[in-house]
Structures are given as structure tokens and as C-alpha cells.
Subunit: 227 residues, 2 copies
């Protein structure tokens, strides 16, 4: 099975990649859709240029497709990007978003591809435990009451997960951020040959919107297995 | 004819793209090989992250492949990247380098693809006149006696070409930079929907090596056709 993994650099797309590799799939390409505007409905936007470092760390070619950012156009743009790849299937990190899942499934069907969403409808808490066990993952965007500025750049570990569960009980935050409550970035994974190190970051916090972004200004790859 | 254009962002790969579009080819992907090290024998390295802005300006998906930077491995890595694309041909900006041309031809042949090199063995001066007429192109790297620091960031226009011709007569500099004398970057072309604007650049000049690089630290796209 030759596949492309829809890849934004966050936990869900890295989980999709992890799963695909574990299945023994031949992952030919990682595919990132980049919005021409700064808005995007379907894809993970902040720090999307960092996906190149991750792809380099994994050693799988990265295909960057461009989209105007208009809601319906994005799907057609993604289809045009996938249409030119010699693959049998596409793997996505969709967790609970019917919107995203349906559209990827439709594009896959139209192109005669199998569509996989290994995290689809997983229990969020159990899924997050697994994520924490596999990845070095940090929060790079927040947009939910309860997630204050201190969450930006925070590593998601078991302690952070406990707090997310409490915030879920209090404010109904989705524990895996599926409602757009937060965005993540994976700095390291078992299949990374080098880890991403942030050299310079800036927190951009808006009190009015109660949301923020960790802007990674400089980052580099550091080989692993060295003391 | 569905093709991929080998794309580094410089004048030769933009000329290859220009030619392919003029032929009426369907350019499905631009393909950039990025070296894992900072050295690369076959590909244009400085500022390669800027190719993403150019691809966005053109509106054609960009495939970034990664290579260890070892001389023979690069060809195999490029082959693996092209192998997964549903294309009939590959277009390269090769001008006079037998090394590059032979390897691209070999990979194309092994994959059953047609190989095009529209600038191959063109007269350098006549070719540069054509380049100047089509593109807004600047020098972003220099490595030849005669090309001092003032060339970094300089726009290549007819005056610059006259000087290059003089430098050719004096120091045997290849007028189109084919021997690695200089690297270029295309900021605008007729098929760009937006132009690349450099916001912050830094000249990095080494007097010992008599060579330099224009490092583009920040750049953005500016829509065209606006007053």
C-alpha cells in the first residue's frame, strides 16, 4: 500500500504517519496544504513552514499544495495535489471532525484511493495518553477559555493532560483539541531521525480573543542518539 | 504532457518552467531537492526555503525531497521523489553541466519519463538577454574572482550583463554562472501571480574565499497589477 499522509506537523497528522508506518505502508509523500491567505478552515496553519523541518527529520518528501483558503476551494485544491501522486491511499489525522473526514473521504473516492483515519472516533483521553507516550509534543496555539498564555509552548505530558481533563469538566474543552481549542507541534517521534529544537520563539497573545500563538522564529534539527 | 519541473528558484529552473508552460505542458509539480547537510553538488542550495514563496506565487504544488547531500545518493533520492508522481516528463534547467544533465536523463529513462532541458547548450549571452527580458532576477550568491560583494543582491539587467561579459573576457567567468560563479533568485516572472519582495537581507561575505551569499531573512508576496 503506497500512501500519502496529510501532514500539518501536529499530533494528529503525526499519529496518522506513525500508524501508517506501523502498518508497513510505504509512505511516499507527506502532503501539506498551505493557505494563500492566513485563514484556513480545514488545515492547521500556524508555523506550517516548520513542517519542512519535520519532513526532513522523517526523510519523506513533503508536497506543499497551495489553496486560496476559501472553504470549498480547499477541497478541490487538495484533490488536484493528490491527483498527481502515484498512491493507493491517503491517511488523515481526523479525530472527530465530520467536516474534515467527509471531504477527505470524498476526494479519495473520486480519485479511487483508500481513505484511512486511524484516530477516528478514538476516546480523547485514551488517545491523548497514547500521543504523550509516543511524541514530544507542545502546544503552539490556543483558542479556548481556560487555556491561558502559560499553555503556549508547554509540553503536553501526563500533568498537562490532567489539567486538560479538569478544563474539560469545567469549560467543556475537548481534551484532544478537536474543536480548535488548541494546536500542537511534534518536535520528536520514534520515526524522526533528528529532533526539532526551537531556538527562538515568541508568544503572541490576544487578551481580547483569549487566544494565542507560539511563533517559532528559528528552529533547527539536532541529530539523535548523541550525548 | 504532464510534467514536473526541477525547481530551485533561480533563473535556469524558472526558465525551464517558463518554457514548459509555453509548450502548453501541464506542470503538475515543482520539485526541489533539499540537502540534509549544507552542501549539495547538484542543486542550488542558498535560500532554498524561498522556493515555497515562489511556488505559492505560481500556484503549482511544490514537492520538497530530502537528500543526504552525498554525490551519488542525491540522484537516487531524486529518483525516489519523481517515481511517485503521475507525470510523463521532467523539465530541468541544465545549461552546460554534463554532470547534471546526464543524471537527470538517466533517472528519467529509468522511470520511463521524457527529459527536457530547454536551455541546454544555449549561447550564454543570448540566453542571458532572454532571461533579463522575462524575469526580475537578482544575484544571491557569488563565488568567482571578479564578483565582489557589490554583486550580492544586484538585479541582473543589461548593464550587469555587460559587466559579466567583461568579467568573462578578463577572468573567464561563465556569463550565465554555469560553473558555479553565481546563484540567482527570480523575484518575478510573467507567470507569477504575485511578486516576491525581500524585507530583510544580510550579505554574508567571505574575503578569504572571495565568495558570498545574500541571506534573505524575511520576504513576502505582493499581489501584482495593483497601483
Amino acid at each position: 500500500m503506497r500512501v500519502a499522509v496529510l501532514y500539518s506537523g501536529g499530533k494528529d497528522s503525526n499519529y496518522a504517519l506513525y500508524w501508517a508506518l506501523k502498518q508497513g505502508f510505504e509512505v511516499k509523500y507527506l502532503v501539506s496544504m498551505v493557505s494563500e491567505s492566513d485563514e484556513s478552515y480545514m488545515y492547521h496553519v500556524p508555523n506550517i513552514h516548520l513542517t519542512e523541518l519535520q519532513a526532513k527529520a522523517v526523510g519523506i518528501p513533503l508536497v506543499k499544495g497551495f489553496t486560496s483558503g476559501e472553504k470549498e476551494k480547499e477541497v478541490e485544491d487538495m484533490k488536484a495535489v493528490l491527483e498527481g501522486l502515484r498512491i493507493d491511499g491517503v491517511v488523515a489525522g481526523a479525530l472527530a471532525s465530520e467536516y474534515q473526514k467527509k471531504r477527505v473521504d470524498r476526494v479519495a473516492k473520486e480519485l479511487g484511493l483508500e481513505s484511512f483515519a486511524p484516530a477516528w472516533h478514538r476516546d480523547p483521553i485514551e488517545y491523548m495518553h497514547e500521543i504523550i507516550g509516543i511524541f514530544d509534543v507542545v502546544m503552539v496555539g490556543t483558542a479556548a477559555y481556560g487555556l491561558d498564555e502559560s499553555w503556549l509552548g508547554r509540553r503536553i505530558d501526563e500533568d498537562a493532560l490532567k489539567e486538560l481533563v479538569r478544563l474539560h469538566e469545567k469549560y467543556k474543552i475537548h481534551v484532544a483539541g478537536e474543536g480548535g481549542e488548541f494546536e500542537t507541534f511534534v518536535r520528536d517521534a520514534p520515526f524522526f531521525k533528528a529532533r526539532v529544537v526551537f531556538d527562538e520563539v515568541e508568544k503572541r497573545w490576544s487578551e481580547c480573543n483569549y487566544s494565542g500563538v507560539l511563533e517559532v522564529k528559528r528552529a533547527h534539527l539536532e541529530p539523535k542518539g548523541q550525548v
